[in-house]
Amino acid sequence: QDALTLQLKWVTQSQFAGYYVALEEGFYEEENLDVTIKPGGPDIAPVQVLMGGGADVMVDWMPSALAARENGAPVVNIAQPFKSSGMMLTCLKETGIETPEDFPGKKLGVWFFGNEYPFLSWMSQLEIPTEGGEDGVEVLKQAFNVDPLLQKQADCISTMTYNEYWQVLDAGIAEEDLVTFKYEDQGVATLEDGLYVLEEDLEDPATVEKLARFVRASMKGWKWAEENPDAAAEIVLEYDETGAQTEEHQQWMMGEVAKLTAGSDGTLDEADYQRTVDSLMSGGSDPVITKTPEGAFSHVVTDQAFGG
């Protein structure tokens, strides 16, 4: 069996159900792979782990992967299980926000650690300064949870459709009391969870072949998860070593995640890629990336995997 380590972007949860399903249901084994899944967390930069040799493949969002590439980390997208973006900005209705024009003067919670790029490029497209002031927004570095909204420390916070949004609802705030702005709807969506490897790995045909088997098994896992969301959530729960996740939440999350993976067979859609790059480069005075990326994705793995 070939050993392979996958570094996740975040903790064990249904966001990564496909991989856990593939592991649990033996899809990796069928491809003669011995896969280790390393959960991530708020302090783990998957790119660093990849560069340090701690993993072979990572799950990352494209904006941070492209920024890392510009910073000298030669990471390449080899597959894109997530077709659409689940990111949104959630506001309390009582703050009076109805459209993005209402943002100036408000406090917005944003995730940093490489996840701020979609927000920054959205704001620069809206031409709203993020340094505070009269017609700017005050940005808060939001930690892990939705407390700032519940405690009214922020007017809006970043949420994922499949995770934090559920937490807001679960806390007892009704959907009618909220206003949400999906990045997809605002036309600023960027590609989320994709699979990345180091450029040099693609030069070795044996490695490419191994990766192809991995992507094939992973996508099989994803499709299985889409079809059996409750069972997939159970599997995820089993792999959660913290013992802190709840069944209810994971099942809900699986349902939402399935909406995002739907429509992807794992192959990166170049149009989506282009849209992401354009969005990131259009950042006015302070774009996220300054040069058009070269060789930031490759189809060799998916081509081999799906016989393209």
């Binding site: 660093q48 560069m51 910073n71 000298g72 570095k141 892990f144 700032p148």
Partner: protein, 280 residues
């Protein structure tokens, strides 16, 4: 490889020079030169290893790259320093030290309170910063006040333990003397026990300086405005701008060392009589 060998050679040479320098008379210049030399040789070693082994900059940037980053980012670094050190760490330090000494005095005043407070104080010791930081952010908001609150909790225990230990560090005759004067609690405290406790208290104060800084920085990982050393560090790690991360670390190390040095200087003034200060 040549880089690595060269760097190791430079480092060993500097160490030998230091050994020689330290044998000479203890002048102020030497006291500054020796650590500087040691540090410089460490930097050379670092640069050599990074270059020699081709360590990618997203893992560990070279000192030269960090230095460049510091030069071009001075205004940002200064703003972060004000936010984290001056506002968060210092105010928390002052409050935490005051609280630690106050509780130590309370615990000391009666046996009943000491037995009750000390175990509770021991509890406080281990409230891990990762646990309290999110709570403090929830209670005191995103700005520096929540960082100061974290710092208060962090410095409290070292001060408490050392003050309580120090207040007990008088010898029998010294205490008996006070008893023959029928000195009340307060005079005994002010004229005997606090002075005798000073070497211990300064121990705590010194340990607390570095804790305060770490506390203020790490607390920013759990929610902050978009400035501050901790904010910058966590954000730039995510962006893989490791040179900026290290630039902030350099600022933190400089500020922390200066802070520690200032406390140590006050210590030599206050506890000049202690044997550890009397002999060089």
């Amino acid at each position: 490889m040549i880089w690595v060998i060269g760097a190791v050679a430079v480092w060993l040479g500097a160490w030998a020079l230091n050994v020689w320098l330290a044998r000479g008379p203890a002048t102020r210049a030497r006291a500054l030169l020796v650590p500087a030399l040691f540090g410089l040789s460490l930097l050379v070693l670092w640069e050599g290893i990074v270059r020699g082994l081709g360590v990618p900059s997203v893992i560990l940037p070279a000192p030269s790259a960090i230095f460049e980053r510091i030069i071009v980012s001075l205004p940002i670094l200064w703003g972060d320093f004000v936010q984290t050190f001056l506002k968060g760490a210092l105010s928390g330090y002052v409050l935490g030290v005051a609280a630690g000494i106050a509780v130590a005095l309370i615990a000391d005043a009666s046996d009943f309170l000491r037995r009750g407070v000390m175990p509770v104080g021991n509890f406080m010791a281990a409230l891990p910063i990762i646990g309290i930081a999110p709570i403090m952010v929830m209670w005191f908001g995103f700005d520096w006040e929540s960082k100061a609150a974290v710092v208060v909790v962090m410095v409290f225990f070292p001060i408490l333990v050392n003050t309580v230990g120090g207040l007990a560090a008088t010898d029998r005759m010294q205490r008996d003397l006070m008893r023959t004067y029928a000195a009340g609690y307060l005079p005994t405290l002010l004229k005997l026990r606090l002075p005798a406790a000073m070497p211990f208290i300064f121990n705590g104060l010194k340990i607390a300086t570095t804790l305060a800084l770490i506390g203020a920085i790490v607390a920013e990982f759990f929610g902050s405005p978009v400035r501050g050393m901790g904010f910058r560090i966590s954000t730039e790690v995510g962006r893989l701008a490791l040179d900026m991360v290290w630039a902030e670390i350099v600022v933190a190390a400089l500020a922390g060392s200066a802070f520690y040095g200032a406390i140590a200087l006050i210590e030599t003034r206050v506890t000049f009589w202690h044997p550890s200060q009397r002999r060089g």
